[in-house]
Each structure stands twice: as structure tokens, then as C-alpha cells.
Symmetry: C2
Subunit: 915 residues, 2 copies
């Protein structure tokens, strides 16, 4: 077993002969009690002094102890640590005192757990030196008690048949099911859907409702682990208590194997995900992520189809486009003003023929339609997700579950700060405070200030870098123009554009990592009270920074480039020597498109493939990383190699990467969602690229969760939380940005205005001429005129709406400019409001709860009431049978039961009433 | 007691000697069992044939019976009938068969109620002839059972003290409380707030938790009534079963008296409402309405303050306003083009001095600020309401309560339609259908089509009427101009404006009633399935129609008037003879303001005072109405006058108006909210008027509910439902409308553009001249020039941005026009997005759940868990004491309990586990 540790437990699981080995370590030493949860900790000195511990316990008072505990906790890096190696990191702090203190608290903690009924087994003498394991088993009565407190809904014995619709609808349904058959994963879940167990909040009083014949499987491994985890964290402000890591054992059951075959495999990329199974194994929170990702990917299919059609429409109509035809016409002889000072020369408009034709691919009326479509698509996606979430909530029996609002424990860092504060206060006032202090705004002001300043600074850095790239582009372009090599000069534009975009991409990729770290650091500075608020603040900051980072260059190109150039004769200069860059003829849309595709594709390819696709593509990178970890952990004991051959289950799991939360996955997707919606007007192929990426992404993530991460503790969740709000925000911003892209970046509005206001015959002929203003070359500033002696021109043209040199007010902005501007702005208003209205209508038309689900929930309620009524009746009959006479005649007087139409109120006897 | 029946039970309640008389009829004949609910029905023939009933019962089969029942139900007007007189209405249908059938079903229904444990007492022989009463009493065990099914939360014995904050905050709090002391109603509720009972879902299993020492008062009258009401309606698809009316007895307890003194009185207008008390007496739904109204009124205070300040700012700066100063300057000699063809003459701009100065009151930069303020105010209001709602939910123990989604019974009309459909189908297919049919889209298509067509028609009618008023204005103005009386001519503008506004108002008031009826008719046509969907559809339709009705004339004035006039020499004509009207100089804002104030004030004064303020202002109207009803009901028995002196409680209540739902109250308020937010940019005093109106409105409504309506059945509700969505929609629309009012109706943008683009010295001097174009009078069309021979002018001026006659393109729209238009549109975009963003930020900054409430909820949860744990411990100790040996030593081994920090998990013993 010394080969690269790709996924040892996986191999175990798949080869039947090893299956017994895989079972090894799943139970306590007695082979009976199942290991529900694992805690790991360091053992530096195996023979720590027990007497020392005893004495320190008595000298400590509660206060200094908890203060010290806080410090000890701070020694660790914060809990949701991304792929770090906690045990290695904390080793640096290993002072003697420290270690002893840790052991002390761990043992106190273990005592607490035992008090609560947990059964523990320690294993310090493993083949993994330096790491001690605590295996926890929750006995049946503890499981029951905690399940009752957690208000877990469990399936009851009561089974009911889901009504199958009959008639035409059912036939169509069957047909659809048959056609989509191959799309469903081979999981039994989907077969037996017409029978459902009623679920009810588990309580020991109502135990007769539940099928407790098999106590071992009544609570599955996920539930058992989360029960233990809740108990553990209720004893401590850290998720793992005073230990270093905690995780659930990878469980080599049929579920795992099914997941591996039917989910975490590229061969099933075209299939739906077995979400029920994912939830069963990983819990609701991760289940929801994959359900969301699945729905998003599914929704991308129609979007990319329409996008491709729009693109093809552009391709098909490129030869019918009068403006680009006019530009490309060989007789076209318009002399354009030079693109840079001195070095550049006059040029003929027909040189821009290629760009003009390419621009038409993305700049045609179909894109307007497409961006409206995508705005509605985003609204639909939101609505569908709400419905899907509701459906999953129902299927997963979460309908009654309310997420705790404040119940989260304060974080250790927070408590430490509070303690420091009250210590200071005590020192000042010389009396012991009884009231618990809390951090006020004043305490937090410095941190908040740092936050604001740093965020602004970071955004400033992004802007500066974008500005730097602009300067690069300007200077390189001028330099290349001066070059004598004719091929270089002809390829100037393309070269500059592409290199600049690549520089931007690299900067984005690097800053992405930097910003992630900065956001985490800032959030730690803020000392949020609970883990939940820590996570939310972190996400919020990361989101803002990454979003600004990804979209600033794009926004510059879309809205600012080519707008701040001045005019021939009085160009705008940066640093007094760099002339601002212009757009190619045909608008900046083309360049926006290039920038978008490079950023989007580059981000996806590099971030995903380099960082994630290890098994298939980059076989070198990840195994290397793992090897390093492996060697590190083995440094201490080279001689024990042969022992490793028979590792316990919990030991193999220990070598997997810890689960770092879903934040990076969601973040990646939401930035992608931004690319798909924000600038879709200029790049209709974005959904297609996103779709292709996501099809791989789902399976990649699945593989990661199944094979490369420690199995995380199942967390209950009803929704995707803050991510939904961020999605909504992106979708909202998308509407306004698309409105501006269509009206300002593309030539759509100028063309319309020309056609309906200025064109003599209502056609687009002569549009190009109309958009070009005249410039008298004698008006060039001294030293700025082109040096090229070839051309002898009097007038050159430039793209702008300005008065000609022969008017009373030469070079002043013309009436056409204002008319076009007004039309552009009007379009923005109309577009924004129409699209927002349509989104609201979509939102309003699609009910949040699917009809069948709401009917089903209602039906279950009725069935539940019926069940209880029957039970009550049973009691009555029991009492009746105890009192042999008098009861029977009386009952016959009453009308038959269950005559009612909806909630069946049965009659109850006065004498049987238990009050 | 023959004096006007103002509010008989009120008088009873207030005079102590009558108090015993008031108690009369509150109990069954035995004087023990309380009357919880009253059903009334008609008795046409007191001696109906009982044998007949028997035979018909046996010949009926279930199907035809229910069909007939459906028909019988349809005979009645639909349940939520506004102030109609159900018994009078249904009398027209009183065929013999019909009456018999009704009695039959009533008796079957009463049997059902008895089966469910209700105790009934009939009283057909009352002093109110023709009306039979069924008094219902719910005995204790029925109350308990139903309370358990309804998942009512009831206060437990467990009391806990609410933590009083200490320190500076508390001192400030106490101070604030002392200052606001006189604002609180004299209700004990507010005093004992620092102790609270824990609430828990009532269940008979956990009866020991509740304080059941006084069974009579454990469930208060409101709860008892709503329990009976739920039972009654669960037996029938109508709220009152087969009876005509149902209501709860007015209960002459201290609550009622307190409500009368501390709530339904004008003398306490400045106080907070005793919402807790209102809820206690009327239930949550009505409580929420008044809480909402109260918050809205409260929020109007800052809004009207700022509004008044803005108005005063306008007044103060009217003399510093350069444009109006220029207009009023005596040297001003600008000759303006005539305002109508032939009849009107040229006029001097200084004649418009008054209007220009008045316009400044509403058209100054402060209004821009004010409309932003109001948009944020609306967002704040929404957020505050959400918080308040949450707080009330908590205080009223509704936190766990989920509103039933589908459980509403289908309405009788719906069932009848379904039955008709299946009958038809059976007829066709010649076989009995087992499956229950439902109405498909195809069945409903005709109704939907009618709906759409009628709605469009109604909106068309509104437009037509507005157009009619425009024509009236144009023609009258021309006619008055021709008049020879000089005073008439000078007052032309004001006269026409005012009369037109009044006509509009009258039309609005009339159409409001018509549209209410149309909306109801259309909704009945639609046959919605449940009462809830009936109500929602009705509200939606009524809202649209009333909103269009109220705001169409205003929108016309704001955005269309004066824009479609053409120019001198080529005016725009309607019907080829009416020239479209222009705005006065200084923009249309002034006229908009007049229209707004007349509509708003008129609506409020007329609708409220005429229809509602009966006791104080219009003493004539309502008593008259009541007298008519009284006489009607007495027509049948003039001879029994003396009997009436000692009416039973349920009889006096019978003479009160039935409760017609909260829809009209909410609708009135939402239209008012529209006036306050939609055009606030042009009328900053709107919030003040609304505030004054609402202060009266609250007490008016309170009086109506306390004294003039039958006490409605308490309905549980967590929120105000569809009204919240409508409010949000109005607030959203308000942003865009205000943006347009500021940029297009007011002169704000043209002034800014002039100042920064055209003014030679950056001041507003010469602005008026800049906005006026030149017209050469020789260019008038033949026959259109003014007949007035006094003036000999060559050029006249008109308000527009057009080229002068001497340019190359005379009278063509000028560059300034496009520049101003672009600026206007840009302002709209900026304003809309900034305000929306700010609203979103407000929404995001203010948490939906107040912090103290969320902490409180959390605390209660912990206390509840503690309570149960203690209970469990009690059980354990009991078992321990049963097993005298072995138990005790074992427990001592364990660590002390409740060491945990948040949820206290105690240890539980294996041997005490009840599994």
C-alpha cells in the first residue's frame, strides 16, 4: 500500500476481498459499538505527567482557566481552515505548559461527553505517530434523547400511497418518464416513489409511531454523526471541542458505492444527480449545494441553446449588414485620422473591414432580444430554485424545521476579547463584574475602520492595476506602431489586445488568492460573535473583492474605453504623453467580447483544471502535494512503515484533506453566474461555456467530496442562505448593466436613430458616413501631426458626432450627439423598467411552492391527524373494555365517524375525555 | 328604548345599573353555560311540517341532496357581503320547498355539531320575529380537543422575568418612558411587562403545564368563539353553515369598557393604541390592521414634518428665485403667443407672475431632496412594519403558527360548478364518474376572457372620462375667453382648473363605487376555489381599478399635458377643432399640485366624513340608514313593540351591521399611501394631510368596530397578507414616477442645464428668455391668428426649445431640446437607481427580526427545554425512589448537571430511559 495514496478507502470499497479490511476500524474494540464520530489530537509526549494535571486543576479558578482556554484555542488557526494542515500548524506553539493545558481540557471535555452518555474509546497507540484518536459511540438512549431535542423528523410506520394521476396527464407523464429514463441515475430511490412514509418529529413519548425494529439502522450514520457533533459543539465554542480535527468515518456501504458509480464519475455526466443519496450521505447542506448546481446547469441548457442561435444568426446575417458592407466596399475611400500621435499615419476605413464584420456577430438586434431573454432566464432560475428548494425541503422532511437564529455559540476569539475587556474594566473599577460584558460598537470601531480602509485600498489596487494595463496597452501600441517590421505593425491591434487580456487574467487570478486571504484576515480582525456571522461577513467581503477584481477591466472596456479620447486636435492625454486609447471601428463591443471570453475561459480552465482535475489531467500536481503531506507526517517515524499496511479506517480518513466548507465552490459559481448574466449582451456564448464547464464541475466536485475529503458532519439547512441573496443582487445588477451595454457599448441605438431620424430613405445606407465627423488636418496641434509623408490629405474623419470644421462652431458636439444620447438614455430607462417588470411578473406568476407539494403537505397533515384520532379511539376502546357496561349503548347513539369533508373531527365521549 | 339605536349595548355597558341587563342573554337558560357563538336563520313559517322532512330525507340520495344544497347556498348572496342585509335579500327566494330544504339542512347540520360535542340551545320565540337564534356553547373537553388540533399556543404556569437592562441604556429608557408616559393608554398591559408567561402549544398530554384552576377563563371569549367557528366551518363550506349569519356576542367585560374609553374615543387621539387589548377582543387579524394603521400614522409624523419644512423653504425662497423675479419684473416686456386660436390675444409674460411665484413653492431643489427622502421613508416604513409584525407575532404567541395553505374549503359556488360539470360529463359518457372533477383552465376560459375584457373596458372608461374632462377644459376655456366680462376672463384659468378638478373628483368617487361592484361581479364569475383566493382576486382587481381611477387624471396632468401641443403655426388639434391645452408658465407642476390636493382632500373628506363620521359630523345620514333597517325589520310586527324593551344580548347584537371584512379599510389606506408616495415630488404637503386624516381615521374605525358592527369571529393571522405586497408595489412605482415628475414635470433639470451649460455667468439670469422660442406671427395658419386688433406684434414667444424663424431650419427642434432631454433622462436613470440602491441598503441594514425579540425567543426555547428536562428528572427521581437501592450510588459518580453554557443537556440514566 505504498503507492500514491490516491483514495485508499475507495479501492478498499471496490474490491470485495478488501471489504472486510475496510470494515476494520468502523467499530469499537468489542466489535459491537459503532464508531459514530472521530476526534483527533496531538500527542507530543506520550508520557505526560498526570500528577501535574491534578495539582493544576485545584489551583485554577474558573475564570483564569477559561481565559487560558481561550488563549489555547487562539493558538490554533481558525476552524474553517481551507486545506491547511491544522496539526502541523499548531505544532509550532507546542510549549510544555501549552500541551499540558490542552490535555487537561481535553480530558475535562471527555468527561463531559461521558456524563452526557456518550461512550468513548481512545486510541493513542496507532500506526500514525503523534496523533491520538478518540472514537465516540452514541448509545441508543442518547440518540433518542438528542433526536427529540433536535426535533428531528423521522419516518413513522404509517405508509401511504402517493396518488398517481390518471387520464391523459398520466399517460404523457409515463411517456416522458420512459424517454428520460436513461437520464436518471441507477438508484433505487427513483423507483419506489409512489409509497411514502409519513414523517413526524421524533419523541420518546410517541415511540410507538416509529418502526424501531432495527435500532441500528433507525438513525443512519449521517444522523448519528450529526447528533454527536451537536452534542460535542454544545459543550464547547469550537466545532471540535478542544481537539484538532473531527470527522465522520467514510462508510463503505452500498450508498457510498452507488455514489461513487452513479454520481462521482464522468461517465454519467449526462444524468441527473442522485441528490437524495447525496443528502443521505453528506447531509442537507451539501445536498442543497449539488441540487443547486444541478439546477443551474440544467437551466444553462436552454440559455446556451438560445445563445448559440443568436450567435449563428449573427454569422448568417453578417453579409446582409449594410454598415459593414459599406466599410468593406472596395470603393470606400474614407481617410481616417491617425490612431496615435506622430508615429501613426492616416488610414483607410476599409482596413477596418474585418473588425466591422466580426463586430456584427455580437452587435445585432438579436443580442437585444437575448439580453432580455437572459434577464428573464435569471428570474426564472431564481423562481425554479425556490420551488426546487421547497420540494427538497418536503422530501427531506425539513418542512417544520426552523433554523436556530441565535443559538450559535460565541466564537472562542470573541469570548477571549470579551474577557480581555472585562478584565480591563475590573482593573479600572477595582471590583468584580457580574454582568456579562459584550463587545460594543466602540470596541469594534478600530476593526471596522481597518475593514473599510482595507477594502477601499484593495479596490484601489484593482483600479490601479487596470489602469496599469491600460498604460501598457497604450505604450506598447505606440511602440509597435513605430516598429519597422510590417507584419508586426499589421498585427499590432490583435497582439496588444490579447497580451493585455492575458495580463489582466493573470492579475485577476493572483489577486483572487490575495483577496481571499485579505478578506479572511479582515474578518478575523472584526471578531464576529458567532460562526454564522463570521461566515456571512467573510463571504460578503470575499464576494465584493472578487467581483470587483473580476469585472473592473471588463467594465472599463465596456463603458469608459473610447469615450474619453477627446477629438483630433485636442486629444486627452494621461500623464501628458499617453493619448487615451480608441475603440476599433464598429464599437468597443468586439474588444469587450475578447476580454470577456479570455477572462471567463481562462479563469475556468486554469482554476478548475489546474486546481481540481487531478486524477485525469494534472496527474502531477495534487499527488505531489499529498506526497509532501504524507512525508511530513511520516518524518517522525520512518521505521514503522510496515505497520501502515493495515491502517484503521479512521486513520486512512485522517490522511484525507479536511472539509473546508462550501464557500469556495459557491463563490466560483456565483462569479460564473456574473459572467453569464452581466455582460451577456456582448457575449452570447457565455452560457454555453458555463454549461460545458459545469458539466465537468459537478463530477469534479463530486469526486472531491467522495474521495478526497474527510467526510464532513451532516448539517441541516433549509436553503442556500446568503448565496441566494447574492444571486438576486447579481441578477438585478445584470439588468442595468445589460441596458447600458446595449445602449452605450453597441451601435444598436445610433443605428436605430439614423434609420428613423436621419436616413433619407429609411435604410441603413450611408450610416457609416453619418457617424464620422470631419477634421481639418491644419488644425492639428504642433508636433502631433503624423510624420508619414506619403499621404497628402486635407480632411480626415473620426468617429464622433461633432460639427464639421466649416460650421460656425467647429468641432463642437453636434445636435445628432444629443439626439443619440437621449435615445440611448431612453432605451436604458425603458429596458430596465420593462425587464424589471417582466421579472416581477415571472416572480409573481410562478408560485413559490409547487402545487403538488402543497397538496401533499396538506394531505400528510390530515393523515397525521387521522392517525392521532385513531390512537385516541384506541384508548377510548381500551377504557371502554375496562368498563364493561354502559359504554356500548351510548356510543351507538352517535352518528358515524368521519363524515366531514376535510379535517376529520371525530366525536369524543365525555366520559372518555382524559381531563 | 325607542330612541335612535345608536349603540345600545354600549350604553348598557357604561351605566352600571344596566350592567346586569347586559349580562342577560350571555348564558344558556340554565345560567351556567356561556353562549360562545350565535347562528341566526329565518323562520318564515313557524309551524313547518316535520313529517315532510322525514320523508324527504329517505328519498334523497347523497348526490342530489348535495346538489340541491349547493343551489340553496347560491340563493344567498356571497358571504363577505358589504353592509347588505342578508336576511332581507334572501327573502325574495323564499319558496316553500326552499324553506323546507333549508330547515332540513340546518337540522342535519345542528345534529353534526351536537355529534362533535357542542351544546346547542335554540330560541325561535324571541322578540325579534322571523329570526331564529341558535346559541352554541362549547364545553370544556371540546375546547381542549379543538385547541389541540388548532395548535393554539397557551400561556403555561411557568413565569419568567424579562431581564431589565441596566446601566446608561436603562436610565435613558426610563427617562423616555416617563416623558412618553401620557402617550400610553391607561391599560394595565403596559405596566406588568417585566414578567411573562411561557407559552406552549396546548395539548391534553401536557395539561400539567398549564394553569387550569379557572377553566372558565383559561380560554377567553375570543378563543372560545374562534374554536366554535372553526368547528362550524369545518362542517360546511360556508362560514356560517346553512345559517344566515353568525357572530360572537359583544362581551360587556372590563376589556370592552377599556377599549371604549382608551381606544374608540377622540379624546385619546394623541395616544398609542392598546393593540394588545384590541387583539384580545377582536383577534389577531383586526389587531394587525390597527397596528399597521398605527405604525403608518406614526411614520407619517416625520414625513409630514419634513414636508412642511420643504414647503416653508419654498415659501421663504420665493423672493430669491431669479426666474420668477424676472417674470415678475415690471420691465419684463416679453410678448407671448396666444393661448387659443382667434379668441385669445397676445399676452405679456408678466401676467404669469403669480403662477410663476406659486410654482416655486413646489418646484424647488428641496422637492428633489424630499422625494428621495420619501422613497427612503417608504422603505423604512416597510422594514419597520416587518419588525413590528415580528414583535407582535412574538407577543401574541404566533411564532410557531403556520397558516394553512390549502386547507380552506372549496366555496359553495365552486362546488356547484364542479357538480354541474360532472353531471354534464356523466350525461355524455353515460357512466357514473368516481373521480372528483375539478375546474380546468378550459372551463374557466370564458370567465377569464370576460375578466380581461371587462377590466380593459373599465380602464378604457376611465381614460374616456379623463379625455372628456380635457375636452371640457379646452372648450370651456375658449368659451370663457370669448366672454365679454373682464373679471370672468381674468379668472378663466383658475375657474376652469378648479371646476375640472372637481368634476374629476366626483367622477372618481362615483366610479370607485361602480368599480367595487364590477370587481366583485367579475370575481364571482371566475368561481375561485377557496375563500382565500376569492378575496385575493377581488382585492387585486379592485386595487387595479381603483388605482387607475384615482391616478389617471393625475398622470395625464403630470406627464402628457402641455407636451402634445405642437407649436404656433402648427398646433395639434383634437377632433380637428380643439387645440390641446398648454401648461401655465412655470410648468405643469402647479396644476398637478391643485389636482392632487383636490382629489386627495376631497376623497378623504367626502369618503370618510360622509360615510364614516356619523356620531360627530353627519348626525343625519347614518342614523337614517339605521332607522330604515330598523323599520324594515319591524315591519312584520308593529304590535310587539313593548317586548323589545328587554332584548337579549344576542338580539341587540343582531341589529348591528355585519362585519364586512377589512378590505375596504385597507384599500382606502393603500390609495392614500399612493397619494403620499407617488407624486410627493409635486405636493410635499400630502403626508401632512394624510396624517391629519389618519388620526381621525383610527378612532373612527375603532368606534365602528366597537359600537357599530357585530363582533367578528377572531381570525388568526401572522401578517397583513396581500396588502404588504401591494404596498411594496406602490413604493416601487413611486420611485420611478417621482423620478419622472422631477425631471419632466418640474423645471429642475432645464434650470440645471442652463446654469451649467448655457449661462454666461453661471447664474440663473436670462433663464426665462432661454426657454422661450421665437415665432414670426406671419407664419400663423390662415384663420388661426388672434382677432384682437390692439396688438401690433411681429414676433411672439412660446415655451419650447425650437430654432428661431431666422435660422436655416426654422421651428425645428433645437440642440438645446436634445441636451435638456438627455439630461432629464440621465436624471431619471440616476435617481431611480440611486434610490433603489438606497432602499435596498435600508432593507439590508435593518434586520427583519428585532434583536431583543430574537434573543427573547431563544431564551424561551431554552427555558422550555429546561422545563422539560426538570420534568424528566422528576420522572427519574420517581423511578429511583421506586427502586430503593442501586440507583443512588450510580448517580453520584456523575458530574454535576447543567454545566453547559447554552442548551443544558443533562445526563440521563440508562436504567431510567423509557425505551
Amino acid at each position: 500500500m505504498h503507492s500514491p495514496p490516491l483514495s485508499p478507502q475507495l479501492l478498499n470499497c471496490l474490491t470485495p476481498e478488501e471489504n472486510t479490511g475496510c470494515q476494520h476500524g468502523l467499530y469499537f474494540q468489542d466489535g459491537e459499538r459503532r464508531v459514530d464520530y472521530i476526534l483527533t489530537y496531538h500527542i507530543k509526549k506520550p508520557s505526560s505527567s498526570r500528577s501535574n494535571r491534578q495539582s493544576s486543576r485545584f489551583t485554577d479558578n474558573a475564570f483564569t482557566r477559561s481565559l487560558r482556554r481561550g488563549t489555547a484555542r487562539l493558538g490554533r488557526t481558525p476552524p474553517p481552515q481551507p486545506r491547511g494542515d491544522p496539526e502541523v500548524a499548531s505544532q509550532d506553539h507546542s510549549m510544555d505548559y501549552h500541551v499540558d493545558d490542552k490535555r487537561l481540557h481535553r480530558e475535562e471535555f471527555e468527561g463531559n461527553l461521558r456524563d452526557m452518555g456518550m461512550e468513548l474509546e481512545k486510541d493513542e497507540d496507532t500506526k500514525t505517530p503523534g496523533v491520538g484518536f478518540v472514537k465516540i459511540h452514541a448509545p441508543w438512549h442518547v440518540l433518542c434523547r438528542e433526536a427529540e431535542f433536535m426535533k428531528l423528523k423521522m419516518p413513522t410506520k404509517k405508509v401511504y400511497e402517493m396518488k398517481q394521476s390518471t387520464g391523459v396527464g398520466a399517460k404523457i407523464n409515463t411517456l416522458v418518464n420512459k424517454v428520460t429514463e436513461p437520464l436518471y441515475p441507477n438508484v433505487e430511490d427513483n423507483r419506489t416513489q409512489n409509497v411514502k412514509h409519513l414523517s413526524y418529529m421524533f419523541s420518546r413519548e410517541k415511540q410507538h409511531l416509529f418502526d424501531l425494529s432495527d435500532r441500528d439502522s433507525f438513525f443512519d450514520s449521517k444522523t448519528r454523526a450529526s447528533i454527536v457533533s451537536v452534542t460535542v459543539s454544545s459543550r464547547s465554542s469550537m466545532t471540535c471541542g478542544p481537539c484538532n480535527a473531527c470527522y465522520v468515518l467514510t462508510f463503505c456501504c452500498s450508498v457510498f458505492q452507488l455514489l461513487y458509480e452513479e454520481w462521482a464519475s464522468y461517465s454519467v455526466f449526462y444524468k441527473y444527480q442522485p441528490i437524495g443519496l447525496v443528502r443521505k450521505y453528506f447531509g442537507e447542506k451539501i445536498g442543497l449545494y449539488f441540487a443547486w448546481l444541478g439546477l443551474y446547469t440544467q437551466m444553462l441548457i436552454p440559455a446556451s441553446l438560445v445563445g448559440v442561435i443568436v450567435f449563428l444568426y449573427g454569422c448568417a446575417t453578417v453579409d446582409d449588414n449594410i454598415p459593414s458592407m459599406e466599410i468593406c466596399h472596395p470603393k470606400n475611400n474614407i481617410t481616417m485620422c491617425p490612431l496615435c500621435d506622430r508615429a501613426c499615419s492616416y488610414w483607410k476605413l476599409k482596413e477596418a473591414c474585418g473588425t466591422a464584420r466580426a463586430s456584427h456577430l455580437f452587435d445585432n438586434p438579436a443580442t437585444v432580444f437575448f439580453s432580455i431573454f437572459m434577464a428573464l432566464w435569471a428570474a426564472m432560475f431564481m423562481e425554479h430554485w425556490k420551488r426546487r428548494q421547497m420540494r427538497l425541503n418536503y422530501e427531506w422532511d425539513l418542512t417544520g424545521f426552523e433554523e436556530e437564529e441565535v443559538s450559535d455559540h460565541p466564537r472562542a476569539e470573541y469570548e477571549l476579547r470579551v474577557m480581555q475587556k472585562s478584565l480591563k474594566k475590573e482593573h479600572k473599577t477595582q471590583k468584580v463584574l457580574i454582568e456579562k460584558e459584550k463587545l460594543t460598537c466602540r470596541d469594534r470601531l478600530p476593526a471596522y475602520m481597518t475593514n473599510v480602509v482595507m477594502m477601499l485600498l484593495m479596490i484601489g489596487v484593482t483600479f490601479a492595476i487596470v489602469f496599469g494595463v491600460i498604460l501598457y496597452r497604450i505604450s506598447t501600441k505606440t511602440a509597435l506602431h513605430m516598429s519597422n517590421n510590417p507584419t508586426t505593425r499589421s498585427n499590432v491591434r490583435l497582439t496588444v489586445k490579447t497580451t493585455a487580456a492575458i495580463i489582466n487574467l493573470v492579475v485577476i487570478l493572483i489577486l483572487d488568492e490575495v483577496y481571499g486571504a485579505v478578506a479572511r484576515w479582515l474578518t478575523v480582525l472584526e471578531v464576529p460573535k458567532t460562526d454564522k456571522s463570521f461566515e456571512e461577513r467573510l463571504i460578503f467581503k470575499t464576494f465584493i473583492l472578487k467581483f470587483v477584481n473580476a469585472f473592473t477591466p471588463i467594465i472599463y472596456i465596456a463603458f469608459f474605453r473610447g469615450r474619453l479620447v477627446g477629438r483630433p486636435g485636442s486629444y486627452l492625454y494621461v500623464f501628458e504623453s499617453y493619448r487615451m486609447e480608441e475603440c476599433a471601428h464598429g464599437g468597443c463591443l468586439m474588444e469587450l467580447c475578447i476580454q470577456l471570453s479570455i477572462t471567463m475561459l481562462g479563469k475556468q480552465l486554469i482554476q478548475n483544471n489546474l486546481f481540481e482535475i487531478d486524477q485525469y489531467f494534472s496527474v502531477v500536481l495534487i499527488p505531489l502535494k499529498k506526497l509532501i503531506r504524507y512525508i511530513k507526517s511520516k518524518r517522525r517515524s520512518f521505521q514503522e512503515e510496515e505497520r501502515e499496511k493495515k491502517l484503521q479506517r479512521y486513520e486512512t480518513d485522517h490522511f484525507l484533506e479536511p472539509f473546508a466548507g462550501l464557500t469556495p465552490e459557491y463563490m466560483e459559481m456565483i462569479i460564473q453566474f456574473g459572467f453569464v448574466t452581466l455582460f451577456v449582451a456582448s457575449f452570447p456564448l457565455a452560457p454555453l461555456f458555463a454549461l460545458l464547464n459545469n458539466i465537468i464541475e459537478i463530477r469534479l466536485d463530486a469526486k472531491k467530496f467522495v474521495a478526497e475529503l474527510r467526510r464532513p458532519v451532516a448539517a441541516r439547512a433549509k436553503d442556500i442562505g446568503i448565496w441566494y441573496n447574492l444571486l438576486r443582487a447579481v441578477a438585478k445588477v445584470a439588468v442595468i448593466i445589460n441596458a447600458f451595454v446595449i445602449s452605450f457599448t453597441s451601435d444598436f441605438i445610433p443605428r436605430l436613430v439614423y434609420q428613423y431620424m436621419y436616413s433619407p430613405d429609411g435604410s441603413m445606407h450611408d450610416f457609416v458616413n453619418h457617424t464620422l465627423s470631419y477634421f481639418n488636418v491644419s488644425n492639428f496641434q504642433d508636433g502631433k501631426e503624423p510624420m508619414d509623408p506619403q499621404h497628402q490629405v486635407e480632411m480626415c474623419r473620426y468617429k464622433d458626432y461633432r460639427e464639421p470644421p466649416w460650421s460656425n462652431t467647429p468641432y463642437v458636439i453636434s445636435k445628432e450627439f444629443w439626439a443619440v444620447l437621449a435615445a440611448r438614455l431612453a432605451f436604458v430607462i425603458v429596458f430596465q423598467n420593462v425587464v424589471m417588470l417582466m421579472s416581477d411578473i415571472v416572480d409573481w406568476l410562478i408560485p413559490d411552492i409547487p402545487k403538488d407539494i402543497s397538496l401533499q403537505i396538506h394531505k400528510e397533515k390530515i393523515l397525521m391527524v387521522e392517525l392521532f384520532m385513531k390512537e385516541e379511539q384506541g384508548k377510548i376502546q381500551f377504557i371502554d373494555s375496562m368498563i364493561p357496561c354502559g359504554g356500548k349503548e351510548k356510543r351507538n347513539n352517535h352518528a358515524p365517524i368521519a363524515r366531514s369533508r376535510s379535517i376529520p373531527h371525530t366525536h369524543s365521549h365525555t366520559h372518555a375525555n382524559n381531563f
